[in-house]
Each structure stands twice: as C-alpha cells, then as structure tokens.
Symmetry: none
Subunit: 199 residues, 4 copies
DNA sequence: GATGAATGAGGGTTCATTCAT
DNA sequence: TATGAATGAACCCTCATTCAT
C-alpha cells in the first residue's frame, strides 16, 4: 500500500477549502463547510492543519509555489522580455480558466488575509512579483524595454492589470473572452514599454 | 446650537470604522473596537447603522459617491483623454495620500465583501468603472486613442494597475514615491494607447 | 390649572401599557412600545413609574382594587349566596367585555409575573379570592350551599372556571356568547352546590 | 454501548429546562441556567434545539402528547362519563404530584407563550380540550349528564377549575391535600351536571 | 487515523434606564 | 416636566477547536 508523500486526504481538504472559500470568503466559510465538501469529519481537518488560518496558509503555499515554479520555468525557455511576458500571461490564463475558484481565492483572500498573515502572504507574493521584476529589468538591460521607468513599478502595474482582468473574468462568471482581452492588454503594455527612439 | 445636516456622531462612527477596518479588516474588527475608537458606547452605533454590515455599506456609499463625483467633474474641465486620465489619477493620488486608511478599506474590503453585499458594491464600483470607460471610448472616437482594443478592457486594465499601485503604496506604509510611479504608469499607458500609424 | 389627583399622563401610560402588554406579553413588550402607544417619550414613563416591572405592578394595583371594590359592593346589595355569585359574575362579564385587553393582562400576566412579584400579586389575588370565600362560607353557614366541601376549594374552583371561560373568550376574539356560557356555568355550580337533602 | 432511541442528553436538557423554567419563568430564565442545570455547555443545547423558544416548544410537545395519550386511554377503560372524568382527574393528580415543576411550566407558560407560539400551543391544548369535550358530549348523549349546557362550555369550566386547583397547589408548595380538594370538586361538578328530573 | 459530539469563549445586538437639554 | 439620544450590561447564539471513542 503505497502512500503518496502528501496524503490524499490532505489534498481533498485543500481542494474543498478552495471551493468553499471561493464561494463564501474565508471569514464567512465555516470549517464544517470545508469538512462537508471534503467528505470528512470536522476533526479530521485538524489532523492535517493546525487551524482554519493554517488551512488558508497551506492553500497559498502549495499553489503559489506551483505558480512561481511555472513562471520561473518560462524564463529558461524564452529569450525576449516580450515573449516571456506573453508566455507568463498565457500560462496564467490557462490556470485561471482551469481553476477559477483557486484563482479567486488566491487573489481575493490574499488581500483581506494580509491582515492576519502579513509576512507570510507578503513573502509568497513578493517572490512572485520579484520574478516579474527580473523579466522586466532584464528586458530593460537588453534594450528591449524602455529604461525611463522603474522595473518595480512596471511589474506592479502589469500584475495589477492582469490580476484585475482575470479576477473580473472569474467573478463575472466567464461572460467574456479572457484570452482576447489579455492579448489586447499585452499589446498595450508592450507598445507602451517600447524603448523611446530618443534613447 | 447648530447641527450639521448629517449627524456629527454618525460621521465620527464612520471615521472610526474606516480606521478600525483598515487596521484589522472588516471581519476581524469588532463593533466594540469601532465604538471605542469613535468614543461612543457600543449601542450608539446601532442608532445610526442597522448592523455591522450596514456600517461597511454606509462607508462605501458615502465615499464612493464622493469619488465618483470627483471623477465626473474631471471630464467637464478637460478636453483630451490624456489630460482627463492624468487628472483623474492625480486626483486619486491626492485622495490616497490624504486618506490612506479609507483608500485601503475601499479597495481591500470591496473584494472580500463582494461576498455579502454583491449587487450593492458591484453597483458602486460599476458606476466608477463606467466613467473610465466613457473617457477611453470618447478618446477612441476622437482618434486620440487606438481603436483596436476594447474600451472596457482598457478601463479595467488601468483601474487594476492604478489600484494595485496605490494599494501597495498604502500597505507598504508610504515607503516610496507614489506620484512618481503614477507618472511613469501614465506614460506607459498613454504610449501604449497611442493610435497606430497604420490606422 | 387644576390637576387631577392622579395625573392624566400617568393614566395614558397605564392604558397604553394594558394595550401593549395584552398584545405582546409583558416580556416581549418594550418600554418604547408603551411610550409610543401613549404618545410620550420613553423617559417620561420613568417620571411616573420606577421601572418596567413597576408599570405592571401599578397596572395590577389600580385595577385589581377596582375589581375588589366592585365585588365588595355586591355583598351589601344582595342577600343570598346565589344572587351574590350571580351578580359578581355578571359584573365581571361586563368588565371583560368592555375592557378585554385589561382582562387579558390581569389574568395572563398575573401567572408568569408571579415569578418576579410574588408577594405583591399574590396579595391582590388573595384579597380577591378571600371575598369569594366569604360569600361561599356565608352561604354555607346559612344553609344555602352544601357544607361537605371546603369553601376555599369551591372559591378556587369557581374562580378557575370563570377565569378560563373569560380568558378563552378574550383570546378567541369574542367568537361566542360569553354571557350565555356564563349562565350555564353558574347553573351547574349552583346546582352542584345545592345542600344535600340528607343533610 | 447501547443508546436509547431518544438521546439521553436531549432528555437531560429538557428536564433541566422544566426545572429552570418552573423556577424563573421562560423569559427570565437564561439559556446558560438551563445548561448549568443540565450539566452541559451552553452550546450543547443548540445541538438539540434550534433556539431557546424551540426548547420550550419541544418541552410542550413531548409532554402534552404524553398527557393526551393518557387521557385518550381512559375512555377505553371506563364506561360512564362520571368514572371517566374521575379517572382523568385522578391521573392528572398523580402527574401533578409526581412532576409538579412540569405541571407548572405546562400550565403557566402555556399562556404567556401563546404570544409567540400561538398556533402551536393552541393546537396541543385544543387536542387536550377536545378529548374532554368528547367525554362530556358522550355522557350527555347517553343521558348521564344534563343536556341543557354546551359540552364545550362544560369542558372549559372543568379544565379551568381543575387547572386552577392543581396550579395553586403547585405554587403553594403542596400545603394542602390536592386529592381531597379534587374529590370535592368532582362531586360538585357531577352533582351539577346531573340530568334534570324535568327533562 | 477518523469521527463528530461536546465545549465555551467571544461577539453582535437589544433594550431598560439615565441625564443633559 | 418632558424629551430622546446615549449608555452599557446582559444574553442568545455561533463556530473553531478538542478529545473520548
């Protein structure tokens, strides 16, 4: 009887938590809601997570790391900043479309929860942002992107813009074409980030 | 003894709520925290608001309307889309800098709260977004902005970008120059939105 | 400006209390309900009554005394036990029919409230009952009523029976003929209380 | 480990509620009083009852049904109206003497509570009364009881009389002989209900 | 490991009462 | 006297967490 390194039940609970937190929000959701959704007893959750907050923390950790890994892999396979940004975004679109509830939790709860797990969430988010900053800065240093703007500012801008785009898509129940809007967004940013001829 | 049209105490409670909700988040904040901050008894809050949720609602209502009015006034005083967007943003910077806690509550809680006051918050936010859409669409129809992107998408992008920018400024306790970053952001967007020569 | 010995406002409050207590019950009724019904401010009530409980107490006192006086007067004007009981009951019917809400409060709340104003309510009720006992005992000593039953028991029986009759009439919103039922009841009791021939 | 069909704890809570409600009255009693008396935590009560009011409701339901069953059984075992009424009453005396607190709650709170659970309490009480009405009407149709009085009125009379008798016995802390008084009462009623010779 | 009944601290809300006007 | 805004103690109920089975 092999046991996967990370228990099946733990994953079932995490998946249930995503669903429930997405539907009700972290604070309104009850631990027993998660338990019911996961098909386990309330107490079972505490065999895998120390507290309700830890459940949210575990959820962030596991998934943000996955996202970060994905983004990290992009830089290896693409040369230009433009193609990297394009790839990062289209990967993210795939993620949002295939796991909209997770995307919602990751973006919505990240903010409110900042209140009770500051350093933790900030770290994960910081790591994510730093990768974007690197892509931008690299593009600038190679003359692919304009240099008169702070890479950090650009990274935040793009993150905010795409985050808003995907979140509103999730919350509007997929009523419009996310890929198309994303392509338009990317075009605007890449055009706006083109090196000035005067430089 | 003159009495302001809207009760002093109501305003004191609203201001206290902003402070407390910003510091702890709506769900973690206790009504008695707000009462203490406002210097009133717990029960007094219920003379002005029907419930804790109604307090948050009242807070949105009053302030979002103010912001919307401000944005609305901008279009009358400025001609080009560029100057309108520039003005809207610099007005918003002034707001964020002078009332950072309110800005935080308005942006952070708007999301989480979407869960329990959906239509309400969505309406106010929708009204705000619509104004931006109009500015963009108007700029497009006058040939000032590129036409190959959806005005709605652009509005969302810009909102998301600037929202992220100001929120991260608020939460990082003002460690960097918001105005400067904002100017860079505006430049990137305006460059990215410039009509294509091929058009 | 003459002032009646017992203030008008005090009476207005008492009348309002009767109405409100009858409709909602003492515990569910709020002091502010009584104030609104009386057309006075909440605080005004406390100029005439020390507390909510005192309001109920005042209500009992004033009205029970009136009822007791009425019953007391009957014995003077009537000779036989039968005619006395008949008169007491028909007076009570008049009272119940003209002030059903007061009758309801006096009978319903008397019981529940026994819990918090024991000695007081018991005294008033005891005085009332004692009058009935006297009528019965007098009738027994004069050979008009059977002697093989305790006057106290008979008084309680009759009180309980007539109380139930009038209360159910009040609560059923006067759907049947109280006078008629009362006459039947009286007949049964008087027949049942007739001296045994063997005596 | 056997489990009784109806949870032990539920019954412990109900018994505690009887004791506490009898002592303080429903409105004055606190849920935590009941919990302490039952030896459980406050929250435990809500595992078995939806609310404080539901606790009172459950208490009525369970016990009134028991009483009604008892009364119902009497008619099968006795022939004459006289022996039926006699048996119903002596059963009730046994009940009142063995569970005086329950008797008190059932009769006292039934009235006040009518305010917030009208139809419910009325139904149970109505069912009880209807059984008495049947006994009376049956006695009348068989010529055992006088026919010139409404069976409904007689039932109410007797109920009111016996209710008052037992309640006052309960509240006077058993200072007198309930059985004896009850026998007297029954004699009076049966004599009063004897068919008229003229009929 | 798994369960879910039990716990009890905590918080939103009510409302009798007060008191400055 | 009269007012009614303000008070704050009290209480019902929720729900994260525990623990005996």
């Amino acid at each position: 009887m092999e046991r996967s390194r990370t228990s099946d039940k733990r994953n079932r609970i995490l998946r249930a938590a995503v669903k429930v937190f997405a539907a009700k929000g972290f604070y309104v959701a009850r631990v027993s809601d998660v338990a019911r959704e996961a098909g386990v007893a309330d107490g079972t959750i505490y065999l895998y997570f120390a507290s309700k907050g830890d459940l949210l923390r575990g959820l962030f950790e596991e998934n943000m790391e996955r996202l970060i890994e994905q983004v990290r892999g992009v830089s290896a396979k693409h040369d230009s900043a433009a193609s990297r940004l394009s790839q990062i975004w289209s990967d993210y679109v795939v993620f949002v479309q295939s796991e909209p509830e997770l995307a919602e939790v990751l973006t919505v709860e990240l903010r409110e929860s900042g209140k009770f797990m500051n350093e933790f969430a900030a770290d994960l988010f910081g790591a994510f942002l730093r990768l974007i900053v690197e892509v931008i800065a690299d593009g600038q240093s190679r003359g692919e992107l304009r240099r008169d703007v702070s890479a950090r500012t650009v990274a935040r801008l793009m993150f905010g813009a795409f985050d808003e785009l995907s979140l509103s898509w999730v919350m509007s129940k997929n009523k419009w074409d996310l890929e198309r809007s994303g392509k338009e967004a990317l075009t605007i940013f890449l055009d706006g980030l083109r090196p000035k001829t005067s430089e």
